[in-house]
């Protein structure tokens, strides 16, 4: 990957755009998950991820080829989370900077495990009861919320939320078992 020493000549500008698109495409999911862990609101996490993408492009000349683009992207995203937090705090209570910092540190430590957990999740989803799998898939359809899902099912919001929580806990336990089994080996 030759994106080093990028100057702005016609020839390597194309190369730069291509390299950026490639690197960004590879880490979008991780940046989203990282941000979500710090602010717990998926819609806001999407916005921060988009804003982070813009900043990464602006600062792309500062990126050193061969280094971890993902780490750099998460670092940029972290500062975007702090900005978001400051703005949001004017309207509602949000997590303190202290907690955000702590969560960011601990998320970084869990980063390796996250990949393993994603692999394990694939298998665990197949093990869910059909009815549970159908429910969780409906919850995560585009635009779906638990409230709307409850309405469409004719159930209470509280009951639907509890069902979803139970399914997520089942998935967490399944993931944990799978990882522990591999660890024991």
């Amino acid at each position: 990957m030759e994106v080093g020493n990028v100057n702005d000549s016609d020839a390597n500008l194309d190369q730069k755009a291509e390299a950026f698109a490639r690197l960004l495409g590879r880490c979008q999911r991780k940046v989203f998950l990282y941000v979500l862990g710090l602010i717990h609101n998926a819609a806001d996490a999407e916005e921060i991820q988009q804003e982070t993408s813009v900043i990464l492009w602006r600062k792309f000349d500062e990126y050193k080829p061969g280094t971890s683009f993902e780490s750099w992207a998460c670092r940029v995203a972290y500062f975007e989370v702090l900005k978001y937090r400051e703005k949001a705090a004017r309207q509602r209570r949000v997590f303190s900077v202290e907690l955000v910092e702590t969560l960011a540190d601990e998320a970084e430590k869990l980063a390796d495990e996250f990949d393993d957990r994603r692999d394990a999740l694939e298998g665990c989803l197949t093990r869910l009861r059909d009815v549970d799998r159908a429910l969780v898939l409906r919850r995560y359809q585009p635009g779906a919320t638990t409230r709307k899902l409850a309405e469409s099912l004719g159930r209470s919001v509280q009951g639907t939320r509890k069902s979803l929580h139970r399914i997520r806990m089942t998935l967490l336990e399944c993931i944990q078992r799978k990882l522990a089994a591999e660890e024991r080996q």
């Binding site: 990957m1 702005d8 500008l13 194309d14 755009a17 291509e18 490639r22 495409g25 590879r26 979008q28 999911r29 998950l33 979500l36 862990g37 717990h40 998926a42 996490a45 916005e47 988009q50 813009v54 050193k64 061969g66 280094t67 780490s71 750099w72 670092r75 509602r92 209570r93 997590f95 202290e98 907690l99 702590t102 601990e106 869990l110 980063a111 390796d112 393993d116 957990r117 994603r118 999740l121 197949t126 059909d130 799998r133 159908a134 969780v136 898939l137 409906r138 995560y140 585009p142 635009g143 779906a144 919320t145 939320r161 979803l164 929580h165 806990m169 967490l172 993931i175 591999e182 080996q185």
Partner: protein, 563 residues
């Protein structure tokens, strides 16, 4: 997080579930923050729960909607969630608004990218950033007995390697040729992904780069980018550790390390026959190791595909008398430790005095490229009691008549002496009741022992250092003794005829029932001991005394394997 349900207070569980809905009140947020600040366990639960929520959200709600800057999927494979018959609801007004908002957001991003692009100096009439230039793609130009993970839509011989698709090669070897004639050999089991612009992401497995000129691609493995700069190199990754071996070639390792809150790029150069090893994500520099030349394929061997370890495995699998089968194939440790026929699965066992300074090698090179062998660890000094190997989770009850067949390679331990015992397959249920079915004793005498108070029964064979052997022992239990026959062939020197090294030998004792040691045994207190030194592969246990003709037929399947 041992058991999320039991360890986590209900209050925290409720708050985190509400947080996922974006419906936390100020009071809820305050309460959640207090709980999280108070307990690392709570924070871990929160992060893992949010991660799960995020993965589900990303794959079901978002991945398909995001603008794809690469023009391809770029996100890796979609999680293969089994989809029940659900009618996808049409988006309601809020969803449409959200989608509209998202599109606006995406347009803003594109606009900003364009503005940033246009704002660069010395540019006139700059068009919008072009789509990625299609790069000439690598092609799969050779393969030996490849088996791809089901459902992966694998590459086809002679055709281009698909981009942005995670490919899992469960076994076999493939050869990939790049546009500038650089060749890459990938040995299964391996998981990898080709990216646009000549990048390979090697998640797990062994990969060899061959080329006289600098390679026209890079290899991303763990936290590093490896840039081949000419000649042959070997790369191994297991998801955590990465090794780079010089096979006469040159390469550069580029990593980013965090130092004092800043990111620092570090480069390490490799040339010649040396090697480097490091843990992905660690802050330490790669450590120099000896290059393992024999571990990496240098070419696809031109050989008859009807003869290989894979063919032997196939024949063994089809034998009706097979009761337990340890092939050590698979893409995870769990899979490699599976009993492929029965339910006597294996797990790691550390010897009585500790594991020493090594670990089990689950991807040790086998007799040929169609297999991975198991490399138990035996500490060079004090090896009888130091090391790590495998044993079954449950008890193994040897049948009245039994055959044990395997491939083995023995490495004479540094401290080899009269007391040296290395066991390939063993059981033990007491001081006398033992079943040391396949053993290398002293300097490597192929031996067995079924009664702890009796003498070792030695064959006339001393295993040659580092040679691969096909070995089979048959056992017919009598009242207090067992009739044993043993056969072997030195595969490394190309022996084609099975040699009988024990003939109807009546051995004191009968096979003991206990956990089954693979690459280890037990001392007289039933503590883990006597780890194997070298590699083991294709261990098959049958509930019958197999006819020598059947064993010869198995050996015949290996004949054309490379010596």
């Amino acid at each position: 997080m041992s058991d999320p349900k039991n360890a986590i207070p209900v209050e925290l569980q409720d708050l985190v579930a509400i947080a996922c809905e974006g419906e936390l009140s100020d009071q809820d947020t305050e309460q959640l923050e207090a709980l999280l600040l108070d307990s690392p366990v709570a924070r871990q639960y929160y992060l893992l729960y949010l991660h799960l929520h995020g993965e589900l959200h990303w794959h079901e709600a978002m991945a398909g909607d995001l603008p794809d800057p690469t023009g391809s999927s770029g996100q890796g494979p979609r999680m293969p969630i089994p989809t029940p018959a659900i009618t996808r609801p049409k988006p309601d007004r809020m969803s449409r608004l959200r989608l509209f908002g998202f599109c606006i957001c995406a347009l803003v991003v594109v606009g900003l990218l364009t503005l940033a692009y246009q704002a660069m100096p010395a540019r006139k009439d700059i068009p919008a950033p072009p789509p990625p230039t299609p790069t000439a793609l690598a092609r799969m130009t050779g393969a030996i007995l490849p088996r791809w993970k089901a459902g992966a839509n694998p590459p086809v011989l002679g055709q281009e390697i698909p981009l942005d698709r995670r490919l899992v090669l469960e076994r076999g070897v493939i050869e990939i040729t790049h546009p500038q004639s650089t060749q890459v050999l990938i040995e299964g089991p391996a998981a990898f992904c080709y990216r646009p612009g000549g990048q390979i992401e090697l998640e797990k497995g062994r990969l060899t780069v061959l080329g006289d000129e600098p390679a026209d691609f890079t290899v991303n493995a763990g936290d590093a980018t490896i840039v081949p700069t000419g000649g042959a190199i070997g790369i191994f990754a297991d998801g955590k550790e990465i090794e780079l071996h010089g096979l006469g070639g040159k390469a550069q390792i580029r990593r980013v390390l965090r130092q004092d809150d800043s990111l620092v790029e570090k480069e390490t150069d490799l040339a010649g026959q040396g090697g480097w090893k490091w843990s992905s994500g660690s802050e330490t520099d790669p450590q120099a190791i000896a290059s393992d030349q024999g571990r990496f394929a240098r070419a696809l061997p031109p050989r008859d595909p009807d003869h290989s370890v894979a063919r032997l495995r196939e024949a063994v699998t089809n034998n009706a008398r097979l009761i337990h089968h340890y092939t050590f194939e698979g893409t995870s440790r769990l899979e490699k430790c599976q009993d492929k026929r029965g339910a006597v699965h294996l797990t790691e066992a550390v010897m009585v005095d500790g594991r020493g300074r090594g670990s089990i090698n689950y991807t040790a090179p086998g007799f040929d490229l169609t297999t991975d062998a198991l490399g138990p660890h035996r500490e060079p000094q004090g090896g009888n009691e130091n090391g790590v190997a495998l044993q079954s989770e449950g008890r193994f009850r040897p049948p009245e008549a039994m055959t044990i067949e395997l491939l083995l390679r023995y490495q004479i331990p540094e401290d080899a002496g009269d007391e040296t015992v290395a066991l390939a397959v063993a059981t033990r249920d007491g001081d006398r009741d033992c079943g040391f079915y396949v053993a290398a004793v002293g300097k490597g005498h192929l031996s067995l022992l079924l009664d702890g108070s009796a003498n070792w029964v030695e064959t006339d064979t001393v295993l040659a250092h580092d040679h691969w052997y096909y070995v089979a022992f048959t056992f017919k239990k009598l009242e207090e003794s067992t009739v044993v026959n043993a056969y072997l062939a030195d595969l490394t020197v190309g022996e084609r005829q099975l040699r009988q090294v024990l003939k109807d030998e009546e051995v004191p004792g009968v096979p003991a029932t206990s956990r089954l040691g693979i690459g280890k045994g037990f001392d007289n207190t039933i503590a883990h001991a006597y780890p194997w030194s070298g590699e083991l592969d294709e261990i098959a246990l049958y509930d019958a005394v197999l006819d020598p003709k059947d064993l010869q037929a198995h050996l015949d399947l290996l004949q054309a394997g490379e010596p």
